[in-house]
């Protein structure tokens, strides 16, 4: 008899767990956003986080953007040449980057570079009672730790996405100069085909991705102690993994939803 109900019980518990953590994440995220009203007192921490999330990620973003642009250039040239349309390479590269790859790849790079680090940092603070210490000092831990990171994310993600787009287009241009003597047409096509809506759409995505990545990374670290399967260092390790995986998944889901609205 027990075996018959095992599956419904498992599904029920799973659903309740998902609902609970979603609700908790919602409240946590709203609390982080609500604390943005204390911007005046948080600016130093925000600046530090802009340095940590944005500036320290710059080199990896430039590197990845350049090679992504080059690969797009190569693949685009290989495809377009079949239709004798290699002159459209600039359009293909620019639109792919600005509308899609720029925001998504920037988000994924920042998940690996900053999200995992943020989750581990907050997780260690949780297990070593540093967050409890903040609470006993009557310092709001979400305002102290999470809000500056989320605000810094809102600033860094669009800026890095813009850098990714520009460097990626340059990479595509570089690839086109290696492959074709008609590379001069590349930028004129980019200029004529790229609309403001394309850029706006990319920035909307980067804002949403910033919210998703920062809140999930902070949330996973903040609630490390609620991890039922592990504790201590292993708990922090699992939280970090969970932050990276969940952030990636939700970024891709959000990307699809936003794209479908923007189309």
């Amino acid at each position: 008899m027990k075996k018959i109900f095992a599956l419904p019980i498992f599904l029920g518990e799973l659903s309740l767990g998902v609902l609970k953590s979603t609700g908790q994440w919602g409240v946590f995220s709203l609390s982080a956003l609500a604390n943005a009203v204390y911007l005046r007192t948080l600016w130093q921490k925000i600046l530090y986080n802009i340095y940590f999330i944005g500036f320290k990620s710059l080199n990896i973003i430039v590197l990845v953007a350049f090679f992504t642009g080059m690969v797009l250039g190569l693949q685009g040239h290989y495809t377009l040449i079949k239709f004798s349309a290699e002159g459209m390479l600039g359009v293909a590269v620019a639109l792919s980057l600005v509308r899609e790859l720029g925001p998504v790849l920037t988000a994924i790079m920042l998940i690996g570079r900053a999200g995992s680090s943020i989750s581990a940092e907050i997780g260690i603070m949780r297990i070593s009672e540093q967050i409890d210490a903040l609470e006993t000092m009557n310092i709001n831990p979400i305002r102290y730790l999470v809000t500056p990171k989320v605000i810094a994310g809102f600033i860094c993600f669009p800026l890095l996405t813009a850098i990714f787009d520009c460097v990626g287009i340059l990479g595509g241009y570089f690839a086109s100069t290696l492959l074709s003597s008609r590379s001069g047409i590349f930028f004129s096509k980019v200029q004529s085909s790229l609309m403001v809506e394309d850029v706006t759409g990319g920035f909307i995505k980067s804002f949403v991705f910033a919210f998703i990545v920062m809140t999930i990374s902070c949330y996973c670290g903040y609630y490390t102690h609620q991890n039922r399967d592990s504790a201590g260092a292993q708990g922090v390790s699992n939280s970090t993994t969970s932050a990276v995986v969940q952030s990636c998944v939700y970024v891709l889901i959000a990307d699809y939803i936003i794209t479908s609205f923007l189309m």
Partner: protein
Amino acid sequence: MHEPLIQIQNLTKAFGDRVILDQASLDIHRHKITAIIGKSGVGKSVLVKHIIGLIQPDSGDIIFDGKAYSQITAREFSAIKDRCSYMFQHNALFDSLTVFENIALPLREKYRLPKKEIIDRVQTRIEQLELDEVAHLYPKNISGGMQKRVALARALITNPEIIFFDEPTTGLDPIRKKTVFSMIHRYHEKFNFTAVIITHDIPDIFYIAHTVNIIDHGKIIFSGSPVALDQSDNPELFVYTHGHEMLVDDLTKLLNRIALRQKITTWSTEKSTPMHMVSVEMKGLRKLVDFKGHLLGHVFIKNFAKFLQDKLSADVCAGLFSQEVLVLVAKNKDKEWITTTQEQLTDFFTTPGIQQFCQANHLCVQIRGLVGSANTDPLLALKQRLTSRQCV
């Protein structure tokens, strides 16, 4: 006595199936030092963490300055937290901040004082706690004892009204332990704050605490002054007041004071043949301990106990009646046992090595026999015999 500042009423908390606090009740009085002692893992920290809201109870309530936690608003609770400070067992220092920044954090984040005032106040605490040389270092680069002092400095920096010390001396060397306790005592005298100290340091804490609370099995089993605790004959409390003696008893295999009295009482109620006793009074042993050290006295008792091991059986037990009196108690034995035992003990004390030791340390040994009778209380008879000057 005035109304308590904090009243913990029937607090119950369980983690999963494990009940940590079971209807625990406790009063914390204003401007007093309250100690909470108990074995590891009995819920001392859990109890105190309820007061500052780090843990929510399953049932029960806390009344802080007349306001019940179950009825106050978040703003009122925040005001309560502003009056408190908490020193964590494992320090909970911010590892990415220097010692100076750690101490300054509450002032910077909560009070937003001018930079100069923050520096002055932190510097004062740093000097008081002898942390000058490590102020620029990160917590991982300083010793455990220093980390403890940094945590203490951080707890004191806001001059709070109530300070919770969660095992403030754990991990410190004996000299620093005494320094920390005397510092808490000194600051308490100076600032008149209310202190709640969770500790294992018995009996050191008894010298500074006004009230001692013992927690066991989720309940407060004793609440009162250290003197009342020390004078208590409750065997459950003996382990807390005479923990160091228990260790000695384990080493010598002699019954401790409470256990010996219990044994005599138990045997006397069995109504078998009368109990006979032989007492060995070692006058000067207390002075030996006082002037030449506890260890020398212990070595002497240990050697004597080793000699006694052969004499003990199911019908004979031995224990320390007081610091200077050892008693051998026998049931189901005849009067001959007293004479034989006295002779054996005399032989022991007249062996050259022991005699030399006794003479060198001015130890005067008196061996007395007490013939039991069915109509007398053996404990009372023993006390009377020991206070009389008559030797057998």
